[in-house]
Each structure stands twice: as C-alpha cells, then as structure tokens.
C-alpha cells in the first residue's frame, strides 16, 4: 500500500503543530521519521492514524484522497499504530489481546481454540513461540510489543507505524525486534525514533521534521548521522534567553554516588545562583532523579545528598519543602495542580501553614500573598478566583511555579517547565528563572529542549540510561554535541 500526505497542516488554536508537511511511504518501504521533541512527529502520526481528523491538506491511500474520522477508520484502510505506551490489557492472555474486539465466535460463544491457533500462527510468522495463554502482564516489554504487532497483522494492517518502539527495550530485545521487522513482507513501516543508529540500521527512506515542517526526505544511504543531526537541529536559537552574569555562591545541593532504581552512580552539584541543566532522552531517568531528590520516588540503594551544607538523606515532599528544596514536576495536570480548585487555592497550598494560627487560616494575609504571587509570575489575567482547569497551559505552569515560590525555596527543581507553554509565556518563565538565580537560588533544570538547555544553563549534565553521560560547560555546549551525548547508548 502506498500512503502519502500532501501539504498537511494542523493547528491548535493559533499555533501550527504541522505546516505544509509532505511525506510519502512507498509499498514495502521502511520510512524513518526524525526530529527533535516538539518537531511535530506525534501530531503527524495522529493525523495518519485518524486521531486528528481536522486538518488542512490531503491524505492519499494508494493515490486516492482519504479523510479518516477515527482510529477505526484508519484501521479499516490498513493503518495501525504501535504506541510507545503499549495498549494491551495486562490481565488477558496473549491470544485474547491479539483478538481483542474481534473475537471469533462459534454458536455465540468465543471460539477459544481457533483464537489460540491463529494467534500461534501469527506469532510464528514473527518468529516467536510465546505461549499464547500467558497473561500479558507476565511477558516482558519486548514480547508484549510482538503481541501488538501480531494484533496489527491480524487486522490486516499494511502500514505499520511504530512510535519509539525501542525506548523501553534492552539491547537484546532491540536486536530481536529488528530481525522481526526486517523479515516482514508486504507491510510498509513508518519508524519514529530518537536513536539515529537504529534509523540507519533499518530505514530505506528518511524524512526530517523540524518545527512542524518537513525539512527534507531522502534515501538513507545518501546521508549519515552527522548530517541528519544538523538537519534536525538546524535552526538559529531565538534570542529569548536572558543574559546572566551571576556570582556563584556556596554549594546548595550535592549528590554523590547516588544509586536508586535505574539510576546509577549519579554525581552532581549545584551552587547558589547557578542553573544546572539536565538533558537526555525521554526515559533516561531525569524526572526520576528529581522526584527522588524531592522524596517522592524510589528507595535508595546507596549514595548521599547534601542540602545547604547539611546531610539530607531521608526525604519526603513535606520535609523537602520545609527545608527549601522544592519541585515543579513535569505533569502539571496529573501531579501538579488541583484542577477544579481556584488559582488562589493552588498558589498557597504548599505554604498554607505560614498564614495559619492553630490551624485557622488568616484569609486576609493569605490573599495578600496570593496577589503578590500572581504579580510575581505575571499571571494574565490576574484572577485568583478562576478555576485552574480553565487556564491556558502557560498560566497553569505559572500557577505551579507560583506555588513553588510561595514556600521560599533555596533549591528549585524544575522538570520540563515550558512543556506545552506558548512562546510568550516561555520568555517570561525564562526571565523569572534568571531573576531567581540572581537572588541566590540554585536551580536544577530538566528539559528536553536543547535550545533551552544551552540558553539557560550554566552547566549541563547529559543523562543516558540512568547514568551521567557527559558534563558540559556553557562554552562547550552545542546542540550537536549535546544530541550526540544523549544518543550515545550506554552499553
């Protein structure tokens, strides 16, 4: 099957997520989609798979224009997506998952024998001999992925879209997956990955997306990793970052030989007035590091943390906040805000005790503080009584930041502080970070955006597979160097 997009544009409000993207998958081809975080890869996949049905431009299947109005629609046309987060029911068996929603029946009852027989055949095609009666929760990620692929084949998919399929796989599982993918016939693959080595190992054709546009499309053998990285990055860094001249103070936070979960031997330190950038791929363990330091994730196997000169090894969120170590976590909707409550409610949630005597809140003092916070983070409009759920992403992020500042942190841990935030609010958040540092706060900044790392951080640590994969000073940090460090697989 031939699948093509012609001059595809997709807007969210005033912002373009895709602009004039053209892209063609030939029958039987392995087509890699490359680009930085936020380049538009996920949006493109969502259009191709029918999740977004509102867009400009054309989608062609075997040269006939098509507009999918839902996932089922796309599936019927032969397009299946395997997402990074697998969509399997853990309690059901492999066979039941493969046939979920399309169970074969006999006299109105599920024909279990036929289901299991056909599942075995499908999996055998993929070179796997998993017992199809095993519940999926007992299978490894690699095997679960094969089940998803088998499910797609069962639905007669002719274009298979794989979104970061190797993010959670071990080296051996990756090799096995590649063998399966290479052996598949009659199916076109769209392969999305950050890992350029994999792209070159697999792809016939490569399309690069950048800032929502398709920059170029060419045969894989005509290019190399270095050139590809240049195309992926290749944009002048906008001058939205404040210039900073800061005298560094004492060491505010020091982490030594930290081992927890997948994180091993983490060493880092950050001084008062400094921004320490932490980069790396999604899944490299950056968020886990911040959560652990804050006291909200993992049991430590070893290592020490020193906070403002004193050992700080038994952390809980409440204790961390009391000692001036505050986290702004990455998922503000799920884990940051009480969405149905007001802006004011959220602003002072962490610092409520300051305004209370014997547990009773002094409403006037609290409100004064809320007003100050709203000015400090430039909330617009500065309406304290509005439900947070009604705010834009930028304003929501400002509320989370305001709440963090309300508890007077000395070390601020920021996890993706500008995700889903528009350009204007971004610049304001950058300025705020600079201002806080000038006042002597130490900041640890985790971000997937390389320009942000380079523009804001005084020093940058790149994490790879739970380890510190390289440290860069501001002068050494170029996007090419950082990306190369992030993509280096620890082996």
């Amino acid at each position: 099957m031939k699948l093509a997009a012609r001059n595809l544009s997709k807007r969210f409000g005033a912002q373009y997520a895709l602009r004039d993207v053209s892209f063609e998958v030939a029958p039987g081809q392995v087509h890699a989609l490359c680009g930085e975080n936020g380049a538009g890869k996920s949006t493109l996949i969502k259009v191709l798979s029918g999740i977004h049905s509102e867009y400009e431009g054309e989608l062609l299947v075997d040269d006939r224009p098509q507009r999918f109005t839902g996932i089922r629609d796309a599936e019927r046309a032969g397009i299946a997506v395997i997402h990074q987060e697998l969509a399997l029911v853990p309690e059901l068996s492999a066979a039941e998952n493969i046939f979920l929603g399309h169970e074969p029946t006999r006299f109105g009852m599920i024909d279990r024998a036929r289901m299991e027989r056909e599942s075995r055949q499908l999996l055998a095609q993929l070179g796997s001999s998993i017992d199809v009666r095993t519940p999926v929760r007992e299978l490894g990620v690699g095997q679960a992925q094969l089940i998803e692929i088998a499910r797609a084949l069962h639905k007669q998919a002719r274009v298979l879209i794989l979104d970061e399929p190797t993010a959670a796989l071990s080296e051996r599982e990756v090799t096995a997956l590649f063998a399966v993918l290479k052996a598949m016939t009659g199916v076109s693959l769209v392969y999305v990955s950050h890992r350029l080595r994999e792209v070159f190992a697999l792809a016939d054709q490569i399309t690069v997306l950048r800032d929502g546009r398709s920059i170029l499309s060419m045969p894989a053998r005509e290019t190399d990793e270095r050139a590809l990285v240049r195309h992926m990055v290749g944009r002048p860094i906008e001058n939205v970052f404040p210039s900073r001249e800061v005298e560094l103070g004492e060491i505010a936070l020091r982490v030594s030989e930290l081992n927890v979960g997948r994180l091993s031997d983490i060493e880092l330190e950050v001084r008062a007035g400094e921004v320490l950038g932490v980069g790396g791929l999604v899944g490299a363990g950056r968020s886990e590091l911040l959560l652990h330091l804050f006291g909200a994730w993992g049991t430590r196997r070893g290592g020490h943390v020193t906070l403002n000169g004193a050992p700080y090894d038994v952390a809980t969120p409440a204790r961390s906040i009391a000692r001036g170590l505050v986290l702004v976590n990455e998922d503000r909707k799920q884990q940051g805000l009480v969405l149905e409550q007001t802006v004011g409610f959220n602003f002072t949630l962490s610092s409520l005790r300051e305004f209370a005597r014997l547990g009773v809140i002094d409403a006037q003092r609290e409100q004064e503080r809320q007003q100050l916070l709203s000015e400090r983070v430039q909330l617009r409009p500065p309406d304290l009584d509005r439900a947070v759920s009604a705010l834009s992403g930028g304003n929501q992020q400002k509320v989370v930041l305001g709440r963090a500042l309300a508890s007077r942190p000395r070390v601020l841990l920021l996890d993706e502080p500008t995700r889903g935030v528009d350009v204007g609010a971004r610049a304001e958040i950058y300025a705020l970070i600079a201002e806080l540092c000038a006042q002597g706060m130490a900041v640890v900044l985790v971000t997937s955006e390389l320009p942000e790392l380079i523009g804001l951080a005084d020093r940058i640590v790149m994490m790879v597979d739970g380890q510190v994969g390289g440290t860069f000073t501001r002068a050494e940090a170029t996007e090419e160097a950082l990306l190369a460090a992030a993509l280096r697989r620890a082996s």
Binding site: F294, A296, T316, P317, A318, S320, I321, A322, L327, N329, Q334, Q335, G336, L337, V338, L339, E340, Q341, F345, L349, S350, L352, R353, A356, G359, V360, I361, A363, R403, S407
Partner: protein, 372 residues
Amino acid sequence: MLGALLAVGAFFASYGALSGRELGFLTARNLSLLSTELASSGVLALGMLLVILPGHVDLSAGSAVGLIGALAAMLAIDPSALASHFGLTLIAGPWPAPLAMLVAALVGMLLYAGMGWCVAYQRMPAFIVTLGGLLAFKGLHWQAIANATVPVVRGGHSNTLSALTTFYVPMSYAWIAAGLGFALFAYLSFEKSELWLLKTVVAGQLLALALVVCGRYRGVPLAAVILLAVSAVVFVLCEKTTLGRYLYAIGGNEQAARLAGIEVQRITVTAFVLMGAIAGLSGFLQTSYAGSTTTTIGQLMELDAVAACVIGGASLKGGRGSALGVLFGALIMAVLLNGMTLMAVSPEHKLIARGVILALAVWIDLRLGGAR
C-alpha cells in the same frame, strides 16, 4: 442541590394534591420534633462530609452510631453487665452519664483511627474497610447489649444522655444566646456591602422566626443547638482551616497534594478520627431520642448520611462539597421522612420514595451541571 429542591417540591406537591389531607407539617410541635429528629442524622452527615471530601466513604457510620450509643447507655446503666457480655469481670455501679459518653466516644475514635490507618497507610479501599466496620460494629453492638433493649436511664429519672433530646432551652436564655451569637456572626462576617447587609438581615429574621416558633412549643430543643454547633464547627473546619483545605486538595488530586507537601496519610487518619467522634455524638443523640438502645438503632443511617452529602452537592470522588450543602441535604432527607410520616405513608413506600428522590436529585444536578 437545586435538583434536590425541585425533586422534593414536586414530590410533596403531588402527594399533597393526591391525598388532599391537611399536612400538619407547619405546627410548632412538629417543627420542634423535626429538629430533634434531624439532629442525629444531620450531625452524622456532616461527619460523613469530612470522609467524603478526601475521596473516601464511611459505610460503617450507622453501625458505629448504634455501637457507641449502646456503649454509653450500658456504661451509664450497668457497666458490670457490659463487661460480662464481653467475658470480663468488672464490679462497678452506674457511671455518671458524661463520663460514660466520653469513654464511649474515645472507643469510637480509636476504632475509626484503626480504619483510617488501613485506608491511609495500607492503601485498602475505604469502601471495603468500612464495609468490614459495618458488620463488625453491628456485631459488637449486639454483643454489648446481649440483643436486649437497654434504656438510656432508669425509669422516671433523667441523665445527661436522656437530656440530649428531651431538654429544651428556656426562651429567655435562648433569646440572649441567639442575640450574642448573631452579633458575633455579624461581626466576624462583616464586609462593607449592601449584599452583606441584606444577607445579615435575612439571616437574623430567620433566626428570630425559628425562635418564635420554638417559643410556641417548649423552647429551643437542646438537640437543635447541638446540630447548630456541629454545623458551625464543620463549616469553619472546611472553609477556614488548613485541615479543611488539605481535605479538598487530597480529594481533588491526591498525587498533586502529596507533591505539594501535604502529609496525605496523616490528614486522612485525622478525618477518620473526627468521623469517629461525630458518629459517637450522633449515636448519643439517636439512642437518646429512641429512649433505649436496641439492635436496630443506627440501621441504614450511613446511607442517609451519604445521600445527604450527595444531595447537598458533595462529590463521591472527593474534592467537592460544603457543610451548608450537606446540612441542607440532611434537612431535605429529614423533612421527607417527617412529611411522609405525617401523611401516614407506609414504611415500604417510604423506603421506595427515599431511593427515588436520591436518584432523581442527583440526576437533575448532573443535568444542570452538564449544561453549565
């Protein structure tokens, strides 16, 4: 809440039209009895709110009402018998009622602390934990009274426990106390606006009207005063204290609350312990109103309490609800029961009507909420 009003209004209008009988609802005597009846269920519903706000539920409330009330009555009448029912030996005369109530309430708080610990620290669903409580407390209740009927006080006498629902505050005291209380309320809530003036004047008139009505019977029922006091405490707790704020935050988004530095587990246990104390108070009122403790005291009261919360606008998912709304919800449930009793509706029809009204009120609320 609006939905509840409409549903109840429609119910009474249709019933009144059908029966054509005089309701006898708005007599001073009936209103006075109603307020006493409302006290124990209203207090319990207010406690239930504290458990529902952080996203839990207490199905054991009715059984706890029976158990704690029975413990107080047994201790006030015959502590030796109570001990012997549990296979212990204790030689003691009747305890003073206040002491009996205090000890019974402490036992209730301890039991609730245990359930709170299971929910908060062992992460067991409150539905299951309190379902276990429902059964176990009922068993303990029956064991405590050996399946008999035990009066709250020896015949012809009265004690603090019996006085809870039989004592009426004389009107002269009531007027003075109400005047002082109203002045305090007006002072605390003062803001410079016409709306405030209007609200205060209306509230004052309602209060005066209530007092006048009470004056035409025997005075202000002590039970009504207790309900008012508990309402005020729960209102302040929810609206003005850190604890209340944390309950809303935990119910709204537990993960966010934890990461905002709220000690979710400790707060959850606190909510359960408060519920234990309130279930005790409700138990004293209910047992006192019945005049004796029997195996049926408290039966199904947990469901009326949950219904009052939901009708009053609280969300069973947590994070939403208010003390005033719940008080209103409890009032609706009590008025409904009282009205049906006056109209001589049979018990089976009463149950059906309660169920239909609950579903209807929530359905209307959802509709209106969806349109907003």
